[in-house]
Amino acid sequence: RLSDRLQAIFKKLRGHGKLTEEQITTALREIRLALLEADVHYGVVKDFLDRVRERAVGREVLQSLTPGQQVVKVVFEELTLLLGGEESTLAFAGHPPSVVMLVGLQGSGKTTTAAKLAALLTRQGRRPLLVAADTRRPAAAEQLRVLGAKIGVEVVTDPRSSALALCHKAVEYAQTRGLEPILVDTGGRLHIDDELMAELRAVKEAVHPVETLLVLDAMTGQDALSVATGFHSTLDLSGFILTKLEGDARGGAAISVRAVTGRPIKFIGLGERLEALEPFHPERMASRILG
């Protein structure tokens, strides 16, 4: 564990001795290894370490009786700061119906998460509407329809409609039926697929979602940075949902996407059941990433 490794580095220091440059460098190297092992992006780790180094040569560490522990504390605090700071809630528009768009790579968990959000909102006393705007994947609409039926939430589908037309139809329907918010499940796509990214942009410009959430698999590696950057630059994301977090992936992608976009992680997916959605807790994520 990182804390044990750092303790070992600093145990040679007795009382209020000055930390050597070598000890700090060695400590930073251990932290770097731990973060890379956790799938945090290479460049993001570099920037993060600069921040840690600044504090590591400061009084709080130098004057500590247990500098090893203090450095761990610094890293944990800096990670938590980086990850946190905002509420895990969905925004709502000034006048209904608000639209929430779920986007992301293939297989990240968007359809399941759309249904989870619908379930959560229903428990909170709202009456959401699901939109099966994935027009490409075999049986995608059916998948959302089955999930919607489980939780008593209506699903707008139409095998002959485009994603854009479906969203227009959904807004009208929601308005007439007083349903809110509208949860749009989009088809998985690559951030480098210009045509499909343009499709998303067109939907966004038409229905002005109050949330544009990137649904990201917690086991995503270094690629998380390009994915987040790609989706963010085209769509101006409002936040992230990290899925499959009940597994044993360290989840360093969370750090990368937060660092590169500044947008918050709002929820985490902890399983395949529709109840398995929770608000994001930065300190818990920080300690998980540190391993």
Partner: protein, 271 residues
Amino acid sequence: LLTRPRLDPDALEELEEILITADLGMPTTRQLLDTIPPSISEPEELLHFLRDQVTDILSAPEQSIPEGHPHVALILGVNGVGKTTTIGKLAFRGIRQGKRVLLAAADTFRAAAIEQLQIWGQRAGAEVVAHQEGGDPAAVVFDALQASLAREMDLLLIDTAGRLHTKKNLMEELKKIGRVVSRNIPGAPHETLLILDATTGLNAAVQVREFHQLMGITGLIVTKLDGTAKGGSLIGIVGELQIPVRYVGFGEGIEDLAPFSPPAFAAALFS
């Protein structure tokens, strides 16, 4: 960090960045960089050398596949990696090769999983054995095995539900499916293929180890290589476990599958 004084430290750092951001992980990156002979100093030479090293590692595992009639392949992997889609692609390949192909819809858990596979079956020209959603996956597999024998199928592909290797009960279910296969067709499953998503980071190695320990993985398929992820965790995985990579998936279309080519993969890594 590295003990090659003849190599420019900036060049080494650049290489390290290329390899780490390709998801090789630090241990494999260090191993690779440590193999650079002192005689090499030019960047061109360096890249060429590393490409060859990667190609060698990925070509090393034993490649033979046991023959079966029907040939039974069990498809496994964590959630969302591309199992069902890859089966569609494999089925199409088989049909193209003149084989009689049958698919088993043994993901009885996830919403519309059966329908999804049935559509792929239609696209490929392969029949699908399926029960109800919520049914026993082992029962589907049993029926599919019987059907492939009775109808003299050449190839049976078994789709399973995505599952995290951390879920003991789901891994037990998988083991049970494996037993149903081997009890009903001697020598089967002839292939147990783990599907890996190229966007996955270092957890891919954990997935392979866990599934391999439980089931004995005979081959890997890496999907979504049409994205920006390089799938570099494969190098450490193949090096450690000597499991061959059989195919790569590079798109959502039925033909977006190709036999794995170590030199092509190595070249893409450094491009």
